[in-house]
Symmetry: C2
Subunit: 612 residues, 2 copies
Amino acid sequence: MKLAKFIFGDPLKTENIASERLTKIKALAIFSSDVLSSVAYATEEILLALGLALSFAFSMPIAETIVGLLFVIVASYWQTIKAYPSGGGAFVVAKENLGEFWGLIAGSALLIDYTLTVTVSLSAGATAIISAFPSLLGSSVSICLIVLLLVVVSNLRGARESANALSVPTYFFIALMLGMIIYGAFFLETPPPRMAPREIAPSAFSFAILAVILRAFASGCSALTGIEAISSGAPAFKKPQYKNAQITLLFMAAILSSMFIGITFLANKYGIIPNYKESVLSQVARNVFGSGALYYATQLATACILFLAANTAFAGFPRLASVLAEKKYLPTRFAKLGDRLAFSNGIVFLALLATFLIIIFKADSRLLIPLYSLGVFTSYTLSQAGMVRHWIKNRGRGWRSKAALNAFGSFVSFATLLVIIDAKFMKGAWIVLIVAPILFYAMKKINRRYKATDTELDLKNGGISGLLRPVKDIRPKVIVPVSRIHKGTLAALRFAASLSDDVRAAAVNVNQNEINRLKLTWRAMNFSIPLVILKSPYRSVVSPLLDFLYEQDDRNPEKGKTIVVMPSFVPGKFWQNILHNQTATIFKTTLMYKRQKSEQTRVIVEIPYRMK
Amino acid sequence: MKLAKFIFGDPLKTENIASERLTKIKALAIFSSDVLSSVAYATEEILLALGLALSFAFSMPIAETIVGLLFVIVASYWQTIKAYPSGGGAFVVAKENLGEFWGLIAGSALLIDYTLTVTVSLSAGATAIISAFPSLLGSSVSICLIVLLLVVVSNLRGARESANALSVPTYFFIALMLGMIIYGAFFLETPPPRMAPREIAPSAFSFAILAVILRAFASGCSALTGIEAISSGAPAFKKPQYKNAQITLLFMAAILSSMFIGITFLANKYGIIPNYKESVLSQVARNVFGSGALYYATQLATACILFLAANTAFAGFPRLASVLAEKKYLPTRFAKLGDRLAFSNGIVFLALLATFLIIIFKADSRLLIPLYSLGVFTSYTLSQAGMVRHWIKNRGRGWRSKAALNAFGSFVSFATLLVIIDAKFMKGAWIVLIVAPILFYAMKKINRRYKATDTELDLKNGGISGLLRPVKDIRPKVIVPVSRIHKGTLAALRFAASLSDDVRAAAVNVNQNEINRLKLTWRAMNFSIPLVILKSPYRSVVSPLLDFLYEQDDRNPEKGKTIVVMPSFVPGKFWQNILHNQTATIFKTTLMYKRQKSEQTRVIVEIPYRMK
């Protein structure tokens, strides 16, 4: 207990929740690390997809197109933040405007997306470390799991503290990247080309080349994951919430685009070729900074921001899960705030999922990225389509142009989604296309179950008359299962006698000697309660008791169902439970789950006798 | 359920227990397989210990000494069987005559011994199979585990059936072995010696040689494990029990000694050298029978009897565990007869232990045998020492000579034990010398715990007056924890109102909206029961309820402890439990285990509301 307090901090009072708000500076660190960190792998993905022959000619145009796409989506979300100041995640927007079906599709996509953000970012972070220290080659799974543990603990401590501790490295990364780009682009000379890529570049434009370019575009779109985070996290901002969120979004987009374009430019300038030992970003940094302290600082900062990106998902996933749980699409425990005002259940669940994926995919980000953008662009498409419906329904000043902007954003996102599915299906995107519908169906099923429960428990749906009937006049039938006479049994018999005059004690005959002893004691104690001995040819204790109970129910049915009063034995220490057969517990559980004659309530009185 | 019935058979009635008795023929198969099967490895162990140089000169004398030891022990046990017709296991004899301390040492030794019998026999059986089919080399663990599964299932089906199914291979093995020995010893010519062992044999007798000989003797004593089984299994024999058991014991000794001597003789005759691919017995059989059908039949029979030996332990271990459990040295569930009148808990527990050991020791019998004889000779020593005390106490006709015989047996066994410890300590016997005291201590501790429980629960030890006080006149204090109003809550409130006029409902304020809704409904329903709202700054549900409960206890203490009436929600299907927070269950468990003000009994009424 003390250790837990030291690690996770003292419990926080619920009233503290208002003060857990984020300034723009801190919010940028928490919500933007996902987007910004993707520059660590996005350029590399483009170069990998294009291959040596096409890189030089097409990597820059592709990066510029992606930045264009970024600004379309950002403009679209700029509107969403203002329209949904209480958190405009894709799930909320799609559900409210397009209905439950599309909302749940967006919800499934986002849950998968957050999970993949954790695994991709941790894996890429491990790659950044290994690029700098090649001797660590092969231990990326261990690195990921250690960092995951740290991220989980910091999140269980609560949101504000993590922002304090973690906003420094984000700005450190931004400063190093922009410095590297400015220094590399404007102050260093272009090295002589290792080969003449311009000669290899095609002069004729063919469909095969178009396919490669589209694939590279799809790969590069991994840069655009995580824009959602600010929009759905809007309530965590300090007031004025929506203004602060919008400004943060814009800053994020500006920083991302300059870094992405800059790194792609430098990769071209130095003719960098992706390899499996060192990341492209590491090669760029080595070219600009040499192999000195600044290079190592860059790698460290890259690893840090990638780990922060995993942290972003640990802010987003539990928040979304809690929204889904409040609307009863997930078990309600995901909506419960933990001791430190964090959604602990969601955090722990996400940690388990991520551990599983890291082990399965061996922490290889190149295997994970193809699964990645699919969910992201599904939610972008649905969220912006929802906004179009929102404007059509609510109108207001300039609604036409707003709807047009969101419609354009949705269309562009959808087109990107199709490109991604086409390019990545065989490389792993099929996994997402299997998991998402399962998740969707599970949420539907959970929701149906909760609704059925509410309907059945609702007082309006009949059955109250019997429940409200007064019972004081009727002395109910009571049975007391006993095995031998001790203080616990006496307490149970005494309570049973206080309930009714119609009490019977029942003992199951498993061992004739014990029954004889019990009978003797019973006679000696001179009880007024009759003792019934139940036969048990097969030595079961529970089923003869159940039979006897139902037999009693049938006797004088006007007295209602028989009440069960059970002595139960609680050892002083938990391990001592293995010494006792706990028949009472088994009997009670059987009684609760066994269906008999449409019975719904049955009074079970437990008299726990606790050892000192 | 149906599958279980098909595998394990229909439940048997308790009254069938008398008919589960064994004839001599069947009992020999069940109880002697352990002893008889040891010829599969005992000769090999002697040859291994002696090494090439000494084998020819000393293996026969050592085998003859061991047979002499066998007859001393058998004579000793012959007396035990008659003196203890209800089962004279070492634990019973030692405890009754030497006291609890020595009894528990014997008990620990025997439990370890039975476990090792299973693992050694299965491993040696796998070796027999692999000797015949070298292509199976490397899969001994799998073979062991598959056979273990079969043995467990047949034992869970009950003792008599296993005897029926399994007595054939025992006699098949005996016939083949004796046939092989007679044919090999008397009808085949001695082959020319591969080398001249007589020349290598030492002419001078040194201490170094004595040490080797003692080590070989210790190794060969693995032939004598399992004599105990008939003595402790005596009650399973048909009447007259002790006569039948004695005769079976004698037959067993005769068969064992002829086989052991015969195989050692043949191993000498053919100059067989142990190797790690083929067992010595397999080499002997190949020399006598060639590599034809008879050879394969011998290997098959050897494997079968070794697997039967594992079966012997599955008769002995659960029987001993049940005796220990009846005397409260082990959890009482080991004394419970299963559906098929077998001690199912002991069988399953032994199976888990054996699986663990097989995997740890990679099913290599040569690693396991050094651990083996230690426990066996400990129990022989103690059992016979106990018999000496028995005769001194009870006297009777010829008690002096009987005591002398048992004393001799005990002394010889003890001397052997010392030789075994000396020879085998470093090779693994130390494991037994660590595990046995732990087991001993655990049994002591369990026994103390049971005794403390009995004392505390005993009515003679005060505290009854309060328990017998009539309660009908006092209307107790009742609290009903509620979270929202549904049918389950109504049933609970209704029952609480029937118990007393002093009822309070308590709701914990975790979510202000829900509390407001609850208050509204409460007012609308017009209950006469007051609703108390409990503050919970840290969002815990259980601790405010506990505080409230103890506060109620302190109010008007003359009314006794507050009764808790809880609505509890039982979903229609078990998996649906994950959808509900089950606060009632957590509250109840906390209440049961949390110690407060020396409270021992507290009435907890559960009103389970079950979904359709």
